[in-house]
Symmetry: C2
Subunit: 392 residues, 2 copies
């Protein structure tokens, strides 16, 4: 066996996104002990930086030592007990995964369904909250990675508050790429991933719990079914003070990377990062539309960081992705679940969200589609993107 | 906030151990997509290399995307269903954690207890197996990291086979540092960690399930309570062939590191790595004993890679560790659980298991103990270690 040397890629799929070289370098620094005084200090800085990124003062804000899907599981296994009821909004793959998680906790999931590509409908949510006054929580996906749609997190959180249930939000794809306001909106539990708009390597899941959610966890009648994800135990390791109880061995080098990613975000500023995502998204969309391609989501609800593009009639979507990868070193994403074969997913996330990548993607996509004989407009995409940039 | 630059350390605690610079470099290579054809090939190589390291032909052999404690949980949540009974051997912290995991699955743990520092007693295990013919599995820790004791895995696995129960083994600290023979011994489920004798960064848990264990998982009456750790879902992502179902986003860069760590182990050879651990352990023990320090475990049952040293009467063990860290950049471990304050744990794991570190540790420990006025023999430790090296 030989050492692995990855091929050169530009990552414009649904994540992982291109990792900033500063982060790669940080991850390669020598490993130190997970109870080293310097490491405890690093942990404290990461907690502060995550509070900044989530816009929260929640004390229970930290990265879990596993990917975003473990973050999702952590939220449900800690907040739900057997027999509980949860209202789960589903308008894509990840709402469906929430339902599966709720049921594996021995709880009942009340589904509020919307079309894949449409935002969660607050009226339906309100009706479900009225019909199920015994529900313990409302859960929704802020930015559905499978469809490229945003939901109105602020309104949904307000509904949860009005009906006295906890509000759980999936911010895997939204954190760092668009407005996320945990305290202002009143979100009680949120999880994200390191490999989307934070542009870090995959493998960590930042989470945050409000004091109300933390109190719920402390007041459980039953033990959390997962030892590894039991926040009561994790708090003792990530808690305040210099005495930390050993729980598991933290992924030291991955945390070096997350710290660096959050420093980069803090240097840019949240508002500037959100605005950058919006700008490059608009330039990309201008170019795609000039090519004659259509987006899956209505303009008001599009995610800037994840663009769902309809595959034109008669085009073999997998062949186009293979050609982009082979001829241009460019990765874009396929459709997932019900959207398989129908859309491509073009990510503009974090470090990968820049002018160079927008133009590369438009040029490469036009080249591959034209080579495959697709009926697209050629020669217009780049100037359409340029025109959008010229306005800013 | 500034970028984090770790202090220079030599890691001779219970793990993480010093990471080989080749591995640090591998982890810093550019991230690629978790469904990239090149990444699928990397995954296949990692599976083969883990089969080599575990000495198994089990098809279901792969690294979980979380630390060793998640590996432990994965084994129990997949193999146990509510109402099941499991025989759990406890002779240290990690056997106790197994019990907690078993109970969180809604199963009953039958404890077989031995003193902390003694190996698991096969006679007691046999008695428990006789008394509980309805048990589903027998679980034990091969190398107890909290006490530095080895148990006789081969005999315990043979007992499990004779009584028709599955055999579960914790190989977190043993893999790569001492004889581990999954197929020869007949172990049905095993988990390990990346940060011990594989000398990789913490964060991954290699696991392996025998065909019999995999069949048990497929034949479950109930869903696995953890979505993230459900091997039925994980198999579809790590399975054979080029079509892989997305489950979660794999920790790409961490897997670059594990691949490199396993390449290094394969270059050295398993037998040579085991022998290297034995040699440096014996040299370290010669030096410690020459200093007048005693080991906690009887000679036949000592782990070469984790040496539990009795804290001499009247010595403030935390002060000594602080002095080692401050004056020598050397990390050794404290006692854990019932052993807190009573022992130090000196690791000689993987890349950190070498002559330089043995001599550094003896010199630094003698310096710190003498400075603290401890009643030890000075001036003899290094020559005692040299003498042991001279024999080989």
């Amino acid at each position: 066996m030989q050492s692995f040397h990855p091929p050169q890629r530009t990552l414009m799929g649904p994540g992982p996104s291109d990792v900033n070289p500063r982060i790669l370098q940080a991850m390669s620094r020598p490993t130190i002990g997970h109870l080293d005084p310097s490491f405890i200090q690093l942990m404290d800085e990461i907690k502060s930086l995550l509070q900044f990124a989530f816009k929260t003062t929640n004390a229970l804000t930290l990265p879990l030592s596993a990917p975003g899907s473990a973050g999702m599981e952590a939220v449900f296994v800690n907040l739900l007990e057997p027999g509980d009821k949860a209202i789960v909004c589903q308008n894509g793959v990840f709402g469906g995964r929430m339902k599966d998680n709720v049921e594996r906790c021995g709880a009942t999931a009340i589904l509020v369904q919307d079309a894949w590509g449409a935002p969660v409908n607050p009226n339906k949510v309100e009706a479900a909250l009225r019909e199920h006054p015994d529900a313990r929580l409302l859960a929704f996906v802020h930015a559905e990675t499978s469809t490229g749609v945003r939901s109105d997190a602020q309104s949904l959180a307000a509904l949860a508050a009005r009906h006295g249930v906890l509000c759980v939000m999936d911010a895997v794809t939204s954190l760092g790429g668009m407005e996320v306001e945990i305290d202002l909106w009143g979100v009680d539990a949120v999880y994200s991933g390191s490999q989307k708009c934070l542009s870090c390597a995959p493998g960590l899941s930042p989470v945050s719990f409000s004091p109300r959610a933390a109190e719920r966890i402390r007041a459980r009648r039953t033990k959390v079914q997962s030892w590894f994800l039991d926040m009561n135990l994790i708090m003792d390791y990530w808690g305040s003070g210099t005495r930390r109880s050993y729980h598991h061995t933290a992924p030291v080098n991955a945390l070096y990377g997350l710290h660096e990613a959050l420093c980069i975000l803090a240097e840019e500023g949240l508002g500037a990062a959100w605005e950058r995502h919006r700008l490059h998204h608009e330039a990309l969309v201008s170019g795609l539309e000039a090519m004659g391609l259509a987006l899956h989501v209505a303009p008001d609800w599009r995610l800037p960081q994840l663009n769902a593009v309809m595959v034109p009639e008669g085009v073999d979507e997998a062949m186009i992705r293979a050609s982009l990868l082979r001829d241009h070193g460019l990765e874009i994403g396929a459709g997932l679940g019900a959207m398989a074969g129908k859309i491509w997913r073009i990510g503009l996330m974090g470090h990968a969200c820049n002018r160079r990548n927008v133009l590369l993607c438009l040029a490469a996509l036009e080249d591959s589609l034209a080579s495959a004989g697709a009926a697209i407009q050629t020669g217009l995409a780049l100037s359409a993107a340029h025109a959008r940039y010229a306005q800013s």
